[in-house]
Every structure is written in structure tokens, then in C-alpha cells.
């Protein structure tokens, strides 16, 4: 299992120049968690960055892991491709501790992966990133005709839908017939 170090290189805050040293609040060490996707590559992410994901935030709150336990038990997201999870982690790091602007230019650049990204972001419940992804999806058909929308959004025609439905019924019929035959065979 390989590992990438994500979100760990935050610059140390500058020393206050006017306040006396004794007045400075003690710095609370940041806690880190670990996630991996389908490719098993583990990403180390700060709790602050992970707060964007309601799903992971909920998991963290419920588990109460120490850092050692967290390292030994990375959160597995087997349904998310490794490169997609990397994009999500990058975005969470870039937006750690700050609200997302309405027009976010930090959306992951590999736009051909938008579909997988949307599914992952929806699954991980990252509301702000999902809103921005949805805007990107909507932008694809701005000012387009029905024909163009059908093409871009891969909407089957009525005839294609009907053919698919017939095919599905045929398949279901065959499966049912197969099950009946198997049951009859078992009975013999």
C-alpha cells in the first residue's frame, strides 16, 4: 500500500509581533485522517479539510479515533476511483477552513471525469463542491437546442428507450424462464 501526504504542509502561523508571548493561545495540533479509493492509495487529510464532507465528518465524529488508530484504519471508499478521490482531496485541502466562493475556479481540471466526480461528491456529501459541479453540468447545455442537449447529455430518443425497455423485458422473461427450468430440475 503506497501513501501520499496530502494537506500536511500548511505554513506555520506568523509569530504575533505586538502581543506578549504569554498571551498567545497554545496551538492545538491538527489531527489527520486517512482515506483510500478503489486503487488503495492512501491519502492523509486533515480533519479541517475533511469537514467539507458531511459523510466523513459524521464518521469521524462517531469513531473518536486517535491518530494512530486513524492511520491503521483508513476510510475505504471502494466505489470511488483513485484519481477522483485525489481530486476531491485536493479540493478539500484548497478550501480548508474557508467558504467556497460562488464561482469556484479551483474545480478539478480533468473535466472529462465530471460524471465520476459528481457521483463521488454526492456520495461523500460535499455540498459546496456538488453545487459547483452541478453548475458545470448545467453550463454544458447553455443556449443549446433540444437536439444538441440530447447529444451532450446522452438522452436516448423515445425509440431507443422503447427498444431498451423491450430488451429488458425480454431478458427478464428469459431469466424467469431459466429460474423456472432450474426449479423444475431441482424438483426432479
Amino acid at each position: 500500500m503506497s501513501s501520499t501526504e496530502q494537506g500536511t504542509s500548511s505554513a506555520a502561523p506568523a509569530e504575533p509581533t505586538t502581543a506578549p508571548e504569554s498571551a498567545a493561545a497554545p496551538e492545538v495540533p491538527e489531527s489527520f485522517y486517512y482515506v483510500h479509493g478503489k486503487d488503495k492509495v492512501v491519502h492523509k487529510v486533515s480533519a479541517g479539510a475533511l469537514q467539507h464532507s458531511a459523510l466523513i465528518h459524521g464518521m469521524i465524529s462517531n469513531l473518536g479515533y486517535t491518530e494512530e488508530q486513524a492511520k491503521a484504519n483508513p476510510f475505504p471508499f471502494e466505489n470511488i476511483d483513485g484519481d477522483i478521490l485525489q481530486m476531491v482531496v485536493d479540493w478539500c485541502n484548497q478550501h480548508k477552513g474557508k467558504p467556497t466562493p460562488p464561482e469556484d475556479t479551483n474545480l478539478p481540471k480533468q473535466k472529462e471525469k465530471l460524471f465520476d466526480l459528481v457521483l463521488a461528491v454526492n456520495y461523500l456529501e460535499i455540498k459546496e463542491l456538488l453545487t459547483y459541479c452541478c453548475k458545470q453540468v448545467a453550463m454544458m447545455v447553455k443556449g443549446k437546442s433540444p437536439e444538441e442537449i440530447r447529444e451532450i447529455w446522452m438522452i436516448p430518443t423515445d425509440a431507443e428507450d422503447e427498444a431498451a425497455e423491450k430488451e429488458a423485458k425480454k431478458r427478464a422473461g428469459k431469466e424467469a424462464a431459466g429460474e423456472t427450468a432450474a426449479a423444475a430440475g431441482d424438483a426432479k
Binding site: L119, N122, M140, K144, P146, M154, P156
Partner: protein, 343 residues
């Protein structure tokens, strides 16, 4: 730019979020892609249309012979065209695409972001696209703009829905002064006008027209070319806010109007503006009226709702009826303003 995106394969919650980012015209275009996309849209985009109003209009100054459906975005105070129904004789394309509007399959062309459908019968086309968009967005018809050849809308709307209209506009095509409505059509519109919250009469009958019907009861009425309005017509208006523009009313008429109000006339009225070239402020207050009028210096603003009339009275005259209700009146640049105060 990405090439393709399988929109119907994403979870419904995400689909709804994407649709919320679309303009009404884009939603219409998407709905026309297939029966499945129409059905999914019908059941999953109510979030959008909560703050929308559907308007049907027959033609207008900028787009003659282009009946169409428009969505009014209430919170943004913006009108967006969504679908039009043109005459088949206007179709230029040799190979148009065809779309299904309800039970009709009609040729269509996409022009500057707006889908134009083409029909043998203009009225049938407008009815069909209105029904289609009303069903798609789950919205009743809220506003209608009628011209002298589209009074059928009143009956058609009242038969298709129980929800009353919000706004009715009577319009004169092409803003030409010579495009008068026939007097009989004007009276007919007055008789047939559906119940509505606001009525805007921007059309104009002939110079000799005399209204014998009562104006419909509304909450807001605006008559833009009101040369035909008589004092009797004025005093029979039953509306909270009234705007009478370009009238031929005289100072004597205003005096009589004020006496009528003092006697309890027009009880629902809260604000009125009347413009006329014939006003002379100094002649309004005859001896009888002077007993009820007090000159004032104060500033006071009238505004009942954010999108309604707004006027700031600076000085003017205060009047009080015997029942204690007060009003301020003011003359400014040939216009007479009056607001009743409910405090």
C-alpha cells in the same frame, strides 16, 4: 470542455440541483428530448418554479406575429421567453426538426436560444405551447397580454384553470398611435376580462369612445392612454391603486372626485395618480372643499408593496373625511396624486 455527460444516470437529488441551474427555456428544450426526460423534469424541478409566473402573449411591439410563453422570475423581476408558436408560413428551414408539443408533432427551429414552433393555426399553437409549459412547470397561467384579436384568451384561461389571473395587459400592437382597438372590441374586453389582481390597459379605443360598462374590480389598475376616461368612469373604479395617464380630466372633475371621496366614495382606493394637461391646482379647492383641506409641509412616502406604486409627498394638502380617515393630495408637473393613510 467535456463532450458528453449522461444526465439521466445521476442520482435524482443531483439531477434536481442541475436543473435548478437551467433557464426555463433550457428546461423546455431538455423536456423535448424524449418522453422520459419530460416525465423526469415534470416530477423533479418544482424547486425552480416556485418563484415563477407563467405568461402568455399573442404578439408584441418587438416581435409581431410571434405568440409565445414567457416566464416571469418574481424574485429577479425578469421576463424570460421560453417557447414561441409562429405561423407555418414563417418557416424558412427546408429540413426542420420536429418536436412533440402535447399531442401535436410540429416543426421547430432554434433561434437565439429560443425554440420556435410552427403551426397552421396561430391560436391553436399558442394554446398548445401554453398547456405544455404549464404542465411542465406545474404552473397555472398567471399573466396574459392581449391584443385586439386575442380576446379568446379570457374565456380559454377561465375554462382551463380555477386559479385567477394575477396580471392582465391590454396592449396595442406595434405602439402605433393609429392602431386603435375597435370600440366594440374594447367594450367586449371590458365585459369579458377575467378576474385579475392587476389590470394594465395600454390599448386605446377611438377618440369618441364612451365606456358604458363598469371597469373590472381589481387591486391595481393602470390606464395609459386614458383620454376616454370620464369622471363617472373614474368614480366607478374599484381598485386599491389607480394610475390614470394622459387623461382629459379637468380641474372641475378633480374637485368633484374629491367631494365624492369625502362623501365615502371609492372606499378601497389607497393611492391614485391622474395626469392631464387640463389641471390647475389653484382652482381645485372651491369654498366647499376648503373647509376640509389643510396645507402641510411634511414629507411622507406612499408604497404599499415593493413592486407597486411609490410616491413621496413633499408638502401638499391634508384632507380628512367625517369618519376620520385622512389623505394627502399633491399636484406635481401636471399630475394629481392622492394617498389614503390607514394609520
Amino acid at each position: 470542455m467535456f463532450n458528453r455527460f449522461p444526465i439521466l444516470r445521476i442520482p435524482l437529488v443531483v439531477f434536481t440541483e442541475v436543473v435548478a441551474q437551467l433557464d426555463p427555456a433550457e428546461i423546455v428544450s431538455m423536456s423535448l428530448c424524449s418522453k422520459r426526460s419530460l416525465n423526469i423534469l415534470k416530477s423533479n424541478q418544482l424547486k425552480n418554479s416556485r418563484n415563477w409566473e407563467l405568461e402568455m402573449l399573442d404578439q408584441d411591439d418587438n416581435k409581431p406575429n410571434c405568440p409565445r410563453v414567457v416566464i416571469f422570475l418574481i424574485d429577479k423581476c425578469r421576463y424570460l421567453e421560453v417557447l414561441s408558436a409562429r405561423s407555418i408560413s414563417d418557416l424558412k428551414s427546408q429540413n426542420p426538426q420536429f418536436v412533440n408539443i402535447g399531442s401535436h408533432r410540429v416543426p421547430a427551429a432554434f433561434h437565439k436560444g429560443l425554440l420556435q414552433t410552427y403551426w397552421e393555426d396561430r391560436v391553436q399553437g399558442l394554446k398548445a405551447i401554453t398547456d405544455y409549459t404549464s404542465s411542465l412547470f406545474s404552473l397555472p397561467v398567471s399573466n396574459v397580454t392581449i391584443y385586439k384579436n386575442s380576446l379568446w384568451m379570457f374565456e380559454w384561461v377561465s375554462k382551463r384553470q380555477t386559479v385567477p389571473l394575477k396580471k392582465v395587459f391590454w396592449w396595442t400592437a406595434f405602439r402605433k398611435n393609429e392602431d386603435f382597438w375597435d370600440d366594440e372590441v374594447f367594450s367586449s374586453a371590458m365585459r369579458q376580462c377575467s378576474p385579475t389582481n392587476k389590470l394594465y390597459i395600454l390599448s386605446e379605443p377611438s377618440v369618441n369612445y364612451r365606456l358604458t360598462e363598469r371597469l373590472p374590480k381589481v387591486n391595481e389598475i393602470e390606464i395609459s392612454k386614458a383620454g376616454w376616461i370620464t369622471l363617472d368612469n373614474l368614480m366607478s373604479i374599484d381598485s386599491i391603486e389607480i394610475c390614470i395617464d394622459e387623461s382629459q380630466l379637468s380641474t372641475v372633475d378633480i374637485t368633484k372626485f374629491l367631494k365624492n371621496w369625502l362623501a365615502g366614495g371609492m372606499p378601497r382606493m389607497e393611492y391614485i395618480i391622474i395626469t392631464s394637461k387640463n389641471f390647475n391646482e389653484l382652482e381645485v379647492f372651491d369654498e366647499e372643499l376648503q373647509a376640509y383641506v389643510v396645507p402641510i409641509e411634511e414629507k411622507r412616502k406612499y408604497q404599499k408593496n415593493p413592486f407597486g406604486f411609490e410616491f413621496e409627498f413633499v408638502g401638499g394638502y391634508s384632507m380628512q373625511r367625517k369618519d376620520g380617515i385622512k389623505a394627502t393630495i399633491n399636484f406635481r408637473n401636471g399630475s394629481f396624486h392622492m394617498a389614503k393613510w390607514n394609520d
